[in-house]
């Protein structure tokens, strides 16, 4: 610091170092200062209008009453308003009628993807392709029928078919013979099919009965596909020996479609029925 200003007439602050190093009193440009004051004003106005300052337990709410959740709700309401027209129509129609209406079924297919993902995809796969132990919804083979009404009933009430375990009733070679006939696609060709009472549930021709949910044994699709190193013959034999949902047999296969009637609304079930129907296998 020098007592005497060695640079008279210059707009310096009077701070000097090393003879000639000094601090100049150059103000920021006017446009910058205007911008600065405007932004302060902006903050003041903003904090009056919108939630801004934290208080000990809460925060200032702002006179406009704006909230983020309110903004979100507004967006949701907008979507709901667009959907309302379709949703109202769906409420007054049966699943079959929805299916017949091209526009409405397209809407359902697109909008009920979320429902399918939330409720169905865990077992039946995101595209309805099924999974180990769970049937595919995309094919044309239905245990309980592929009509829109049957599908709706399946979702509403759930399904649980029962096949008795035959391991203790049949001799191993009998199981072998039956299984081979089934794998060949001609169950009725084995005399055992009639003798051992398979026809009671699977029908005379082995094509299954949808009222009982019994499998069609003549087609290319199996309810239980071989897992791991198993051959198809192995898995068919397993099913014959231990049955399905047989309470007296601990090794019995488990197969139950849960009931969605008490979890989902009627409209949601209608929509899901349409989606499942349109996956490819509806009949």
């Amino acid at each position: 610091m020098a007592d005497k200003n060695p640079f008279p007439g210059e707009n310096n602050t009077g701070h000097f170092w090393d003879d000639n190093l000094r601090e100049l009193a150059n103000p920021p440009p006017r446009w910058w200062m205007i911008g600065f004051y405007v932004s302060i004003l902006w903050v003041l106005v903003y904090s009056v209008l919108y939630p801004t300052w934290p208080t000990l337990e809460s925060f200032t709410k702002g006179v406009l009453g704006w909230t983020q959740i309110g903004e979100y709700q507004k967006g949701v309401d907008e979507v709901e308003a667009v959907r309302a027209e379709f949703e109202q129509k769906i409420a007054g129609m049966t699943a079959k009628e929805i299916l017949a209406d091209e526009g409405l079924s397209a809407y359902t297919e697109a909008s009920a993807k979320v429902l399918f993902g939330d409720n169905c995809a865990a077992c039946h796969g995101g595209g309805g392709q099924g999974g180990p132990g769970y049937p595919a919804l995309v094919d044309d083979d239905w245990l309980w029928g592929g009509s829109i009404e049957s599908i709706e009933q399946t979702i509403t009430l759930g399904r649980k078919g029962i096949m008795t375990a035959h391991g203790k009733i049949l001799k191993p070679e009998e199981v072998n013979g039956l299984a081979q006939a089934i794998v060949d696609g001609k169950p009725a060709s084995s005399p055992l099919f009639l003798q051992k009472g398979c026809i009671a549930c699977h029908g005379m021709d082995g094509k299954g009965l949808t009222v009982l949910g019994s499998a069609n044994l003549t087609d290319a699709i199996y309810r239980f596909n071989p897992e791991g190193d198993e051959t198809l013959l192995d898995s068919v034999k397993y099913t014959i020996m231990y049955g399905v949902n047989d309470a007296s047999e601990p090794k019995s296969r488990q197969a139950e479609m849960p009931k969605f009637g008490d979890r989902l609304s009627k409209d949601d079930i209608k929509k899901l029925s349409v989606v499942v129907f349109k996956l490819g296998g509806g009949q």
């Binding site: 796969g125 995101g126 595209g127 595919a136 995309v138 087609d219 290319a220 699709i221 490819g280």
Partner: protein
């Protein structure tokens, strides 16, 4: 040469010197008030200015029941006379841009910044603005005087009328611009009914303000400091480019006309240092320093110089369109015999041919096929393999059309869900979900190509076909 004539010339030259006494290096501090001069290039300039009438009048033309040229962005349709272009055909736009990019390079390499000097909206609008200014305020010296004069009623009236007219032109420019994107007549109706949309209002406002500011105030400073285009074009100019050039061999040493001196006794060059070329220059540069970044090659200095040369009875063309190489006698081939001209022409023709090909082969219908991925394939109860596809039919015509879908591929292939034809809506994409089944014994590979085909007939019975290849998936063998 008679004495009488000499005197007459002297008087004329004195006037000229007086006119151009005011000149400073253009650094933007002072408004350039260029003298307006008539002549050959000035006439050309009016013609090239008139090109922009298309911009104003084009949207008013009709084609059938719609605007002849309309870039309908909300519905993604671009109507150009009888043709409707959808976003799918936008590759032609890249060819068009290529064409214009090359055209710019070609023209600039051959004859300099013709765009800047004759066609650029900045130049043209500034020209019109200054024309109005001259009509209201008078010649450049008068304008400078008025600028310095204190504000009184007369000055206020003149200025008010000028700014009003400028704003009207700016506003019309905005209206014309928006008219290319919405129906022009509806736009004007909306203006008078106060029912214009916010986008239209904002766009028109921006254009009004932009035109007013750029053509009224920034003017040549835009070309100097704002426009990247000017710089890009600047680097395309070389020694072989014909640009307005001062013939220094003929002109130097320049010297004022000495009164009473005989033409035979003259020791100076043809340039009489009258500074007329500076007085008329809209960007305020001195062409006698050679080609420079400020020169927009508007050729008005040629008109000015020629007028003086005629008055002095000297040959015209002291400033003329000429390349440095020709001036320095390094090049004598005429324009059309230069290799680069032919190469440029060839590339331009290619781009044009591409656009012509595109326009002549615009498909009326087009299909896209999307294979469902989850699952890739499904085993059906009869043992066949099923794949799911979504076929999207794009109809670019003006009427709906029934399109029959078919598929060809592996033996035994069968399509489910496409017995009914797809009613494809015009100007839209219509999707159809369908299934393709192939018997198990013919599914020999994990994936193989499959071809979808769409056929439709319009009201006149003309057949339209579109094909698209997709894949068919099966189990691993």
């Amino acid at each position: 040469m008679s004495d009488n004539r000499q005197t007459k010339q002297d008087v004329a030259v004195d006037e000229l010197y007086a006119e151009a006494a005011h000149w400073e290096l253009n650094t933007g501090q002072e408004t350039i008030h260029a003298k307006r001069i008539s002549g050959k290039w000035r006439s050309y300039k009016w013609f090239s200015n008139a090109f922009w009438l298309l911009f104003f009048l084009g949207p008013l033309l009709r084609w059938g029941d719609r605007q002849a040229v309309l870039f309908d962005i909300p519905s993604r349709q671009f109507h150009i006379l009888g043709i409707t272009i959808l976003p799918q055909d936008f590759w032609m736009l890249s060819l068009l841009l290529l064409f214009f990019a090359i055209l710019l390079a070609v023209v600039t390499a051959l004859v300099g910044r013709v765009w800047c000097g004759f066609f650029c909206f900045q130049t043209v609008w500034t020209d019109i603005y200054t024309w109005i200014e001259e009509k209201l305020e008078g010649s450049p010296p008068k304008r400078r005087k008025l600028e310095k004069a204190p504000l009184n009623f007369t000055k206020f009236r003149i200025k008010a009328v000028k700014h009003f007219l400028w704003l009207v032109i700016g506003f019309l420019t905005g209206m014309a611009f928006v008219s290319w994107f919405v129906d022009a007549y509806a736009l004007w109706m909306g203006l008078f009914n106060f029912t214009l949309g916010s986008t239209a209002i904002i766009t028109i406002g921006l254009f009004t303000a932009g035109t007013y500011g750029l053509a009224g105030f920034l003017r040549e400073q835009t070309c100097f400091w704002l426009c990247p285009y000017a710089r890009i074009q600047g680097v395309m100019v070389d020694n072989t480019t014909a640009v307005p050039t001062y013939d220094f061999y003929r002109g130097e040493p320049r010297g004022r006309v000495k009164k009473g001196q005989k033409e035979e006794d003259r020791k100076t060059g043809d340039c009489v240092d009258c500074n007329q070329c500076l007085a008329v220059c809209p960007t305020g540069v001195d062409i006698r320093h050679g080609q420079q970044e400020g020169c927009i090659t508007c050729a008005l200095c040629i008109d000015a110089c020629d007028a003086v040369m005629v008055k002095l009875n000297r040959p015209t063309g002291l400033i003329r369109y000429e390349s440095l190489d020709v001036l320095n006698a390094k090049e004598s081939r005429p324009l059309l015999k230069r290799t680069r001209v032919w190469i440029y022409t060839f590339v331009l023709t290619l781009a044009l041919a591409g656009i012509a090909y595109g326009l002549s082969t615009l498909d009326a219908i087009e299909i896209k096929v999307i294979h469902a991925r989850q699952p890739l394939f499904v085993l059906q109860s009869d043992g066949s393999i099923q794949n799911k596809y979504t076929v999207k039919v794009l109809n670019k015509m003006t009427a709906d059309m029934d399109v029959q879908l078919s598929v060809s591929g592996p033996q035994g292939v069968r399509m489910v869900g496409a017995d009914e034809p797809v009613t494809s809506r015009h100007g839209k994409v219509t999707p159809r979900t369908l299934f393709v089944r192939v018997p198990r014994e013919y599914v020999l590979e994990e994936s193989r190509p499959i071809v979808f085909r769409a056929e439709g007939r319009d009201a006149q019975g003309q057949l339209f076909i579109s094909e698209r290849e997709s894949v068919f998936f099966g189990p691993r063998r």
